[in-house]
Symmetry: C2
């Protein structure tokens, strides 16, 4: 087939795709019928079968930024499209998203995104993806609801194709048979995703735990995973977040019992509970317990209010009537009659809890008649932020309850070692890829898989950008594609890179010293002698002597430099000489290495 014809065929396929997406969107509350699955003719039968390529674009060797591509022939789908958070060495960066350049280069193959659940590290980069790719996005109702909310802040030039599906749904996307499988997690409506390909089935675990007593809905669909396992799973991609932890993750329900004790022991106090806004079941438990203790519940923090409103609207939460009241109205009730549910469990500056702890301009003021409960754990890297709040509350004599002093006040949403083993045994995959975690977690996951009998040479250690390629017989790493981090700073997407970050780190370590002067190079004259200003280097009022020395050094060097050359001393050379002389002096005098900028103007 000529390239031209291929192009046309792709175009026509794309049109079919769009049409079928619309159907899916319109029938979002119905199960798709079986015929839809087989509607696409197998046009490529006569061709040589290409291999399936599985490409993680994030989530390997890092926490967050989860995104995995599945590619076969002319089709690519993405599973999840999450954001990551900046590392300590990325000052000023707000967010990190996957590098989409492989998708840019294969734009015409890209059929859309299927989502496992509504956490930021799985959906947060969707708004940025949609800026460049108007593709359909499939997710369960809560997941789609959260994205719809997010997209209000981003102004897309088109109406995005958000398609609601349910656990158990099966879709045909391009050549792939995609199935959503119910799992337990710290947000409702979470799924694992099975992708049927011409070369075998891929199972992507999403984020999961095995909760035998969930607050609502069923236990993870172990039966379906087992069925797929019996039919044969080629490749299991399994999350690693808690792979270092032995045993089983406690059930979400167990947290309710512990919180009940906290409420029972603090009947005269207002109970302020900080938790993850997306943990709808946790929030529901707090509301139910409060109602049983005769308390009204007020919600603070924008994301908490948004998620609870969405959860109530979508039917994920049914608080007893008249339990939820406005924060302002809560002031009329005695402390023992009020519960406050708040954001800020990660110590986020400017979260509701942060504001009520540190600032005067919060609608809520905390005092000794409050007990503050962190029904949460620290996302790695947030320990110090959380400590700041606990410390300030403790200092002010406010009782704080958190997992390291009060066991069971939180339960994780991620599988520990035994649950991962169960997933592997049920899926009994031919090949295994640990995903979602730093290398230490991936490595612990690898040991778990090895323990339950996956041969070491079938456990694939991938990296972000690795291509895992399989056909009906083999499966192996096969090179890499462009991948990495795109940094978001303010409105900028990708305009801050390594060089800018290096400068920021340098500036933050020792500050900047600017030496400015003007000269007439032609006439070899200094017109205005060097002045020095500095920022972030030294406390200037006490450093007069050093600044004078710096000016003198700069003046001497400048005089030398404009004299010392042949007919035309180059301005760049003059600048560099002044920079070096000043830096030498400052290192010797202060032991610091500031950025020195020589601004010498040739008039």
């Amino acid at each position: 087939m000529s390239p031209r014809k291929k192009e046309q065929q792709k175009e026509s396929e794309k049109k079919k795709k769009t049409a079928s997406d619309k159907t899916a969107r319109e029938t979002k509350k119905k199960k798709p019928d079986a015929t839809q699955k087989k509607s696409k003719p197998k046009e490529r039968k006569a061709e040589i079968q290409p291999k399936v390529r599985v490409i993680p674009l994030g989530g390997i060797g890092e926490v967050g930024k989860n995104m995995t591509l599945v590619e076969y022939g002319d089709d690519i789908i993405a599973i999840d499209c999450g954001l990551g958070f900046p590392e300590d060495d990325m000052p000023g960066i707000d967010l990190v998203i996957p590098d989409f350049s492989y998708l840019e280069a294969n734009r015409e193959k890209f059929r859309g995104v299927v989502l496992t659940h509504g956490h930021e590290d799985h959906i947060g980069a969707i708004p940025y993806l949609l800026r460049s790719f108007n593709v359909p996005v499939w997710g369960t109702p809560l997941t789609v609801g959260i994205i719809r909310n997010k997209l209000k802040e981003h102004h897309l030039p088109f109406s995005p194709q958000l398609v609601t599906v349910h656990a158990g749904d099966k879709l045909k996307i391009g050549t792939f048979d995609v199935e959503f499988i119910h799992v337990n997690h710290s947000i409702p409506d979470a799924c694992a995703i099975a992708v049927g390909t011409p070369c075998g089935t891929i199972l992507h675990s999403g984020d999961f735990k095995v909760d035998v007593s969930p607050i609502e809905g069923d236990m993870i669909d172990l039966t379906r995973i087992g069925e797929l396992g019996r039919r044969g799973i080629k490749l299991l991609l399994c999350e690693s977040t808690n792979a270092e932890r032995h045993g089983f993750t406690p059930s979400e329900r167990s947290v309710g019992g512990v919180l009940e004790n906290v409420f029972a022991a603090n009947t005269g106090k207002r109970v302020v509970v900080a938790t993850f806004s997306s943990n709808v079941h946790r929030v529901m438990q707090i509301i139910s317990i409060s109602a049983r203790f005769g308390r009204k519940v007020a919600i603070t923090g924008r994301s908490m209010q948004t998620v609870i409103a969405a959860a109530i609207e979508l039917g994920y939460m049914t608080p007893p009537p008249e339990t939820i009241i406005d924060v302002e109205d809560a002031k009329a009730f005695p402390p023992g009659r009020v519960t406050l549910i708040t954001t800020g469990s990660q110590g986020e500056p400017m979260s509701a809890l942060y504001r009520m702890t540190f600032t005067d301009h919060s609608p809520v003021t905390l005092g000794p008649s409050d007990v503050v409960v962190f029904s949460s754990s620290a996302i790695p890297g947030n320990e110090k932020l959380i400590s700041r709040i606990i410390n300030e509350l403790s200092r002010n004599g406010i009782r704080v309850i958190y997992d390291s002093v009060y066991s069971g006040v939180h339960a994780s949403g991620h599988a520990c070692s035994e649950e991962i083993k169960m997933m592997i045994r049920l899926a009994s995959p031919k090949y295994y890829v640990p995903i979602h975690g730093e290398y230490r977690h991936l490595s612990a996951n690898r040991e778990i898989a090895s323990f339950v009998g996956i041969p070491d040479d079938r456990i694939i250690t991938a990296d972000t950008g690795s291509v895992i390629e399989f056909d009906k017989k083999t499966c192996a790493l096969a090179g890499t594609v462009p991948s990495g981090r795109t940094l978001i700073d303010g409105l900028g997407v990708g305009d801050v890179g390594k060089a800018v970050l290096r400068d920021r780190r340098h500036l933050s370590e020792d500050g900047i010293v600017i030496v400015f002067a003007s000269v007439d190079l032609e006439a070899r004259l200094i017109l205005t002698p060097p002045e020095v200003i500095s920022k972030g280097f030294i406390y200037l009022p006490d450093a007069e002597e050093l600044i004078n020395e710096t000016k003198n050094t700069a003046a001497n060097e400048l005089a030398e430099a404009i004299k010392g050359y042949g007919k035309h001393p180059a301005l760049e050379t003059v600048k560099e000489r002044v920079r070096r002389a000043v830096l030498r002096l400052l290192i010797a005098k202060t032991g610091r290495n500031p950025m020195v900028i020589p601004l010498i103007t040739d008039l």
Copy 2:
């Protein structure tokens, strides 16, 4: 007594003091005799008794920088003089030491420093203190040995008065009876310190644990603490580091058993153990186990080598003959015959472990025939640094063993709740002050004291700089003294303060944009039109358009500014207008808030 006479009396007392210090120094290996204790005449008997003042200058509301003053009449002694580490919001700062200004203001009263043990957070600020105060420093042999080593890098203009004492020793320092009491901790030779004053006895716990089976030496001297308790302790200052942890800290000896299992399971591999260099007993256990398994032991990392050499010399460590070999010689042995003990357990960049993990220029290269053991825990704030190493090793297929995957491979040196309770019950103090910890730890310690029956109004919540004042009857907070943090950056001590740090944080977030131009204000002319350079703001090669816009905005505003005023537009006003106009543009275009510096020269 006239002020003049008082002054003279102080002078004469000081001379006596110095003389008695010398005695103590010269007799350092002997127990001081009983007469020395009573040698000082009670000259002040006829006067009205002043109150005793206990003043923490650090270690309250923070981890590290431990230092507490005890003051009575004309005498002040300090217990410990430690350093702290910079917080995340102190970029570029190397170290933090206590603010000594209260001592400066009371220089003539200052009789010296008694040290509990040789950890940096208890002795690290001694070299900086000695720069300003040539006072005696008393400590046990290992503590003094470590300081002696540290002082080699600092060039003091005098020979410091380092006085060696032993647990059980009693000294008279000024009016105070000072007694060193043996405790268990993660460094040998650690002490609690009792200070007898005319108004009652103070017990300072130092850092301690109750180890019923220490590797060498006795269990903590519970008997002596109990004796002092029976006689009556007025004030117990007790450490809080592990107050959040329930139960008892495991014995150091238990770690040996666990490490033995690690060695038994890895007989064919080189075992690389990272631990705290000052944990002499841990290092000794690793050496002994290695010898039993027929391994040679090589030591890497400067601080590890220094401490082990000192420990062997002072008799704290007696490795089996010919066990310790040079790192270079270790290469001749097969992996299963070698143990490597290394620094870097906190992930410190440029530590030996860091270098062998990340760099090519290390004498040791790690590979699959190594197993790396972290026999340590993370000091809060170091989690990410440690993770970086674990991740990199995991990524390279090297097995890593650390406390969260292999329980018991480390034991803390600090008392958990039950040990703190034991300390309180034995000392049965009248008043109680939690020290050494963030407010969350102090708060947990307060709850422990309350649990064992100290009335809430006798548990004193102090702060750094608080004055705890007591006489024979009462004890209460009585104001504050100047206190805080002195920041060390390079060679500078205290020349970086809040304003400089604020600038550094600002620079690190969004970088700097410098607009420079020259004008003739008199003639209202722009001589050189605005140029723009930036650092840490945006990737310049891709931002040409924005830079041009910035230049234009600056040029327009500059033109307006020099025209728009009356006869003499002030240069400062012109600069400020340009700064604002440029900043407005940049915020609108990028969503960032860089530091904008207008350098406008009036020629």
